[in-house]
Amino acid sequence: MTTAVQNPRRTPTPRRRRRGRQRNLTLTLLTALMALYTLIPLTWLVINATKTQEGLLDSFGLWFASDKFALWDNIRQTLTYDDGVFLRWLGNTVLYVVVGAGGATLLATLGGYGLAKFDFVGKRAVFATVIGAVAVPGTALAVPTFLMFSKMGLTNTPWSVIIPSLVSPFGLYLMWTFSAQAIPDEMLEAARIDGASEFRTFFRISVPLLGPGIVTVLLFTVVATWNNYFLPLIMLKDPSWYPLTIGLNSWNDQAQTVGGQAVFNLVITGSLLTILPLLAAFLFLQRYWQSGLAAGSVKE
């Protein structure tokens, strides 16, 4: 599955070796303990999404409530509570993900390709700046970014969440290594000799070769944007621009406020609905992101 990017001499051997190994039950059981640890909270979430607010209080956490199977009720309530604000948050999240993560992937692909395949004035400076800036904790930038955006009138608009999401230094790095390995210089030379423009060459020849890398970067930027908490927390005041993460947490906090209604069943069901799309994306696209990771992040 990683043949396009790994050193071709190495790939055939591991397969043969791995198939010939004797399996070990003890080792499997130990690893299964780890998988159990992973799955318990997720199981808890699924089970408790089937309970009413009362059922949550008087039933055992890892088993269903005896009185009522309320999953469908909970989903309906989650989607309609407070005039369907959950759907609004879902829509916002999708907007931030499509424009933010999509844009981040496009910029990282163009940039990574440019760094891998061209020599240009200031390239080393670009390299040094990006690497240096990655070490700066993202949250350290949040306050000044907020103040800057607030002066530009961007806070409390979708742009305040989208623009910072457009930069993924990790994505740039991944596409850089990927472009260097996956696109033979000879192909680019041939296209240039044929008179194709640089951008035509890029879209017609390079993009198809970069497929697995692009999917990987897209998946990781989608996760980063979908799961983003800190940035929208400081940028947005108006609940109608909230993404799901902030919205869910505001439902959870509601129980603490004076006169607020406790809606833990909706928090739990909403959480389940929030993670399902991403879990599905990771499961269905395994082939791509696993090979993309192998190519990029872990070169010796």
Partner: protein, 305 residues
Amino acid sequence: MAVQQVADAPAGLRGRSARHRRSWTGWRFVGPFMAVFALVFLAPIGYSIYLSLYRNRLIGGNSFVGLDNYTQALQDPQFWTGVGRVGLFLVVQVPIMLFIALLVALAIDSGRLYGSAFFRVTIFLPYAVPAVVATLMWGFMYSNQFGLIGNINDALNVKLPEPLSANLALASIGNIVTWEFVGYNMLIFYSALRVVPTSLYESAELDGAGQFRIITAIKLPAIRGALMIATIFSIIGSFQLFSEPIIMRPLARNVFTTDYTPNMYAYSLSFAGQQYNYAATVAIIMGVITMVVAYVVQLRGTREK
């Protein structure tokens, strides 16, 4: 950070393509990224340095105070308590998480497991769960009200220690962070192990080396780049600790105070206290501490080669 690995990797920096096209053409590809990068990385860094040198007073307005904010922060016990807390978190949680991740990666890579593909994907899954959801879930389970701990106490008529009491709160956060990221780190290690040439293991086995010896002498040195990257990412992540404690704050307000971590401190300084200049100073000091620690770890890692 991780400069060594990163600098070695992309062939384009020195490769054959470097010889031709030394021009501005590359900028047409790199330019858009760098423009946004300048806006959301470089400008805020510059702006926070500027902010940290000024102070805003009710009387007298905005005035230049030199390094006064830094002097104040360096003597601020609230700040240092937070730093100590994330420092403790770093030296305990990160090694545990990375060690487990490494064990699982070695187990899956060994080819001796039944259903290794299932384990690989399952253990990675929490990475796709937002920190908010992960913390809400664990927070519910920790709580006495209708959580698992409460259930177990009732069912067995025992009194388990409270996960959100002052003594255990940091460990409880460590558990959430471990749950979220152990699979991600496992996958980084696993991907690195996959590209180790297997001829090395085979000849070692022929020479009579045991599995433990093969792991310590061949596998670990071969994936040191991945180990380093994972360590540095984890260091940065620990120093930035924010979402987990702030989301659990309603469950235990006296434990998760507004200065529980340096990041929470900077956040509450600016958004509850309007002390933007001081918050920027705290953020810069945290950034510098992070970079220094990451750099020292990186140096040690390279020297041990």
